[in-house]
Each structure stands twice: as C-alpha cells, then as structure tokens.
C-alpha cells in the first residue's frame, strides 16, 4: 500500500459504510476541507451536514439524529471536540446513551502551524472521564479503516482521535482489529514500550531499533484503544520486564501513562517511565520541531530508558 492520508482513508471508509447502511451520516463544523470528507458529501449530499463553526450545536444535533436511529460521525479539530463541545457530547450523546461517534483530528503536535490554541494534549484525558464511551487512536491506515468499521457496529458513543496526515501502513491489510484490543508489535525481553497513536508508535519502533544497539531488547505494544483499555495484553507484555515506558502525543497525566500506572498500582508490575507532555501547553512550529521540543522522538525515548537502566 502506498502512503495514504489518514483523512482519505477515514472518508473512504465512511463511504463504504454508508453504501451499506443508510443510517450513517456525517457532521462537520466548517472543517470539512480539513477532515477531507468532501468526497462523502459528493456521494451522499443529504447525509453530510455542515453546521458551520458551531461545535456545541453539532454535538447536540448529533444526539438528536442518533435518538432517531442515525449513526452520526461528527468531526472537528480534537481541541474543539474535547473542550468546546464537551458538555454537549457528555449529556446529549454519552449520558443519553446514544450512539454518536465524535472525531477529533490533529492530535497533539500534529496540529503544528495551528499552534497552541489548536494543539490537543488533553483530549484523551478529558474523554477518558466520560463513562461508557469507546476511545480509539488508530496508528495507521489499516487500523483506522478497521476500527472505524468496528465503531460503526457498536451502539455506544465514541471518541476517535484521528491523525489526518499521511502515515505509512504498519499492519498487513489482512490484520484483524477489535475495539479495546492492543497489538504486540515487537517481542522483547528487557523492557516494554506501550505507545498510542501514529506518531508515537513510529517513534517507539525507532526507539526499539536504537535500543538494540545498546543491548536493550524492547517489546513494543500499540495500545490502539484507551477505552476499553486492554489491560490483559499490556499486563502480559509488561510481565518480567525491568521497565515499562508509555509513549503518547498527549499529557502524561490522565491518558495512556495513567492507564498503565493504574494497572501497575492495582496488580503490580515493573517501574514506569511516562514519555509525553509534562504539564505544558502546546505551541507553534513544524511537527519535527515540536517532536524535539517536547522530547517525543525515538531518541528521547531511548535517552529516558538509558538513564533509568544506567546503560
């Protein structure tokens, strides 16, 4: 597979779903160009609703659509999805036990030139506190396609954290995915890296290769879902390791790092190092600059590990 834009995969998957299921509808808040769902609108003009720059309205409208049996996929930048429309998503969708798939694009540093106001480092932590929803962050085009389909099958509300730029496939086209299931990408005996999202899974795979040069054999897990969280796979991958490292394009508090810390605190496990944003706001720059600025690169992961292991 060539390197497709994740948003193109998102849109094409929705078209596939919509061809089979007349209840699939999409909602946009004046960011259809960014989300890349114009192709959906061309095919299904009556099932693509652009509410304008009005995220709160969008989520309660989505709740209403869902109350009558529609399956809305409502998208905006992750910052506005999780912050501006939170109460509407919480009450009109989740608490009302309706079926709205909220899509937050441009996770963390991928917001790049849009800068700090647009850089969600907190969306997952916020969403994790909403009861009974699914939270997924696919890491490549294959997992994205599969997980969007799985979300559409489920009857509860969900938050999809969508990287919209191009990402090379990590998985074979035939790989099977489930909501709430992680994937072991690399076996390893010494330590275990649990990563979430396209950028951090890639940086963790780079770290895996660099660590080998220092004689450190690292397992790598792609968490994929934050809710439900695959405690089983992750606990198994951590078993007997000297160290577990979480890697997320997000605050280290409240999302992946916390979810793994909870497992360790509740059922035991190795020492934990959390790689991610340490209580800072985002800022403007290229993605490459920001990865370095916030110490999210493979190199940074390696350094943290070597510091702890004194290797």
């Amino acid at each position: 597979m060539a390197t497709p834009e994740m948003r193109a995969v998102y849109a094409e998957t929705l078209i596939e779903l919509a061809e089979k299921n007349p209840d699939i509808v999409i909602l946009e808040a004046d960011l259809m160009k960014a989300t890349g769902t114009g192709v959906f609108k061309e095919k299904f003009p009556d099932r693509a609703i652009n509410v304008g720059v009005a995220e709160s309205n969008m989520l309660s409208v989505a709740g209403g659509l869902s109350a009558e049996g529609k399956i809305p996929f409502a998208a905006t930048f992750g910052c506005f999805a999780a912050r501006r429309a939170l109460d509407q998503f919480f009450i009109s969708c989740a608490y009302a036990k309706l079926n709205v798939k909220l899509v937050g694009t441009d996770p963390g540093v991928s917001a790049a030139f849009n800068g700090g106001t647009h850089m969600p480092f907190e969306d997952l932590a916020i969403m994790r506190a909403v009861p009974q929803i699914d939270i997924v962050e696919p890491s490549d085009p294959v997992s994205l396609k599969a997980l969007v389909k799985k979300l559409a099958e489920r009857k509860n509300s969900a938050y999809l954290r969508l990287h919209r730029k191009a990402l090379e496939p990590i998985y074979d086209a035939s790989e099977q995915f489930e909501i709430g299931k992680a994937k072991l990408l690399k076996n390893g005996n010494d330590i275990c890296i649990v990563a979430l999202g396209g950028l951090m899974v890639r940086e963790s795979l780079r770290a895996h290769a660099m660590l080998a040069e220092f004689g450190i054999d690292a397992a790598v897990v792609d968490a994929l879902s934050l809710k439900p969280f695959d405690r089983e796979t992750i606990a198994l991958a951590m078993q007997g390791k000297k160290l577990v490292v979480t890697a997320e394009n997000h605050q280290i508090n409240g999302a992946l790092g916390s979810a793994v810390a909870e497992i360790i605190a509740e059922q035991g496990g190795p020492r934990l190092v959390r790689v991610g944003i340490n209580d800072e706001f985002g800022e403007v720059g290229t993605e490459a600059y920001l990865l370095e600025r916030f110490k999210l690169r493979g190199e940074d992961i390696v350094q943290r590990i070597r510091e702890v292991l004194k290797k």
């Binding site: 004046d30 652009n50 309205n57 501006r84 800068g115 106001t117 720059g285 290229t286």
Partner: protein, 275 residues
Amino acid sequence: MTSEEKKHLEDAACDIRILTIDAIGNLGVGHIGGAMSIVEVLTVLYMKHLRHDPKQPRWDGRDRLVLSKGHAGPALYSTLAYRGFFPKDMLYTLNRGGTNLPSHCDRNRTPGIDMTTGSLGQGLSAASGIALALRMNKNNAKVFAIIGDGESNEGQVWEAAMFAAQQKLDSLIAFTDYNKMQIDGMTHEINDLGDIEGKWKSFGWHVLRVNGHDVEAIDNAITEAKQHTGKPTMIILDTIKGKGASFCEGSLGSHNMTFDAAKAAEAIAKLKEAR
C-alpha cells in the same frame, strides 16, 4: 477627511498589507484571506483611533483590541511592527519554532496583543469582560473587537451580544469582518447571517455598516461609535477575503493557503504599482 489624510491612511494600509503578504510568503503557508480583509480597519484603528504606546504595550491608558478571529494574527503583527511595537524583521519568525508570533494571537508572547484568541467565538465575550473591568476601574479606555462572519456561527457570539447590551458596555466597539466566506464555503450557504444588521439591533446594539476597505468610511463609523452612549456598537465591514493579494483575492481557497515567496513578490509588486 482631507485627501492628504486619506492618501496617508491608504499608503499605510498598503504597507501593512505588503508586510503581511511578505511574512506569510516567507513561511510559505498561512491564513492570508482573513488577514487581508481586516487590513483597513487595523490601519484606521492604529493610525488614528486606538490610543497606544509602542514603548509601553501594557500601558494602562491604552485602548484595547481583541482580535477574536485570531487566525488573522499576521495582519495585526504587521500593524504592530509598522507602529514600532517590535522590529519588522521579527515578522519573518512567524510560526517558526520558538517564535513570539504564532499563527493565532497570544497575549503572553507578543507585545501589543491584549488577548489570546484562536478558538473562535470567545473574543467578544473576553472583550466584554475587559470593558466591564475598565468601567469598574474607572478607566475610560475603549475596547475594540474584531470577529469573523463564519465565527458568528458560534453560539457564544450571541451570548456575548446579549451580555454586552445588558451591561450597556458603550466603550465596546466591535467589527464583523463580513467577507462572506468561511472555510467550507460561502457564509450564506453554511449558516446564513441573513439580516445581520437587524440581528445585532435586535440584540440591543448600536449598528453601523460600511465598506471595510474604505478608510474614510471606517474612520467616520469609529468616530460616531465613540460618541454613542448607552449601547455597545457593532460596525459591519463589507469586505473581500484576500483583498489586495492578487493571487487569491475573493477566493474561498484564500482561507489558509500555501504560496511561495515568488507569488508574494508578484502580489507586492502589483500593490506598489497601484499605489
């Protein structure tokens, strides 16, 4: 307004437009459309009405400005540089790692920026809060706010509309940059603002409407608004998205577009020729 004064303001607007195109072109991508449409109002404000001191950006006696459509920051940065808040060279740091000129306005980074914006819909509320505090503090400074027409889709804009009228915030003078476009299309095709003057009037505002590229008309409107008491004022500016940037004037694609230094130079040459 004398014809000399008018020419002076038009030249300033031309210079500010050129600085903005140059800065975004130097980076290669940015919100050029919505920056171009507010150049005249920024010019008239900073050349004539807005009390300010570039040497003391936080001077208590200054008039405040909230650029609620924060993505147009680059036009305001050029205006501030033009007025001497910081060197013009700094405009080339726009959006580069570690910059103090981020794509969206940030009060903690840029001298002369009074409020952080970028999440649309919040600025008019913040400007109302500033106006309220100034009144409490017996400070007679004016508060200016610029909102977008697409931004006016946000419910919070209308919450602020009710609030500011209820509080009789007559030191608040807001502008709607009515360029008739947002990201995904024409504003009337997404959420039609319809009778925009009637809407603001019915919310209890004093409403004026002028050509947003006519410096004299803007000047007259601001002068009138400053004298009006008992109500906040909304000045609707009829504008053109991308105005003056020849490669994108009037186009939907101008919202956030890539263009290189050569394109920028071409547009700048045309502006110089026409002046």
